[in-house]
Symmetry: C2
């Protein structure tokens, strides 16, 4: 049954989180943390609701997963996030020593690749999972904002 | 009476926060946010207590100041922090568009200067305020840990 738990399977759940953000008028980014195929944290961007620039989906997911584990290092954990992490989230992921990051859409302006952000050398990165769906949600959000 | 409110005056308060962290066995970093010479947020590193890598003094101070202001952008605010911000905190400060950052000791390994972190172009940076005291506290902490 392990074939059920593909990167696409988990990214779809992160994407559902992003859609929750979308419906709240937040920039639509969602994230989950998975350990042994179990989802231990789920979150979406809440910067507007909380008036807090640190309330990115990833930061909340890292805090929530660490709280669940009772440990600050996210070993044997994978973060699925719909958008390439920014400098802040990359720094948080660095400190967490997370095992794997899987992201959907690229962020060519603020993503860690563009700004030269540093991930932990132990962290594996996979990109482009459900990329089009993740990118389309962002595009629709910003198009609606401009209307 | 404005001369009372020097960078050293406020850094001493951030340093007192760092000492609180020290006594809790946390890496001794303290931070405050000041607006119009009023302290609107005070915090110290709590990563061990909270099992949370995101609980750096700066992240907590940013969230707390934004909560106080009811606004996510920290305009006309100054962050005083005893140590040069890391990649994560630099990213958070970038998003906050904070007006000024004053820090004490440099962090030549993980500070934003070493890793090429990006602050907001509007943000002014002053370094080296009570540098020796801030650095000595860190040094003592790590020397004690090695004993």
């Amino acid at each position: 049954m392990d074939t059920l738990f593909t990167n696409e399977y988990f990214m779809q759940i992160a994407l559902n989180e992003a859609k929750e953000a979308f419906h709240k008028g937040e920039i639509p980014v969602g994230a989950i943390v998975v350990a042994n195929n179990q989802i231990i944290a789920k979150s979406h961007n809440l910067t507007e609701l909380l008036h807090d620039v640190t309330a990115h989906a990833e930061i909340q997911a890292i805090s929530s997963a660490a709280n669940y584990l009772g440990a600050k290092y996210l070993k044997n954990c994978t973060l699925f996030v719909t958008l390439e992490p920014c400098q802040m989230c990359t720094g948080a992921l660095y400190w967490s020593q997370i095992t794997k990051i899987v992201y959907g859409a690229s962020d060519e302006k603020r993503g860690f690749k563009a700004i030269g952000g540093q991930l932990h050398p132990k962290t594996e990165v996979i990109s482009g999972v459900l990329e089009q769906e993740c990118a389309d949600l962002m595009k629709t959000f910003f198009e609606n904002k401009r209307k």
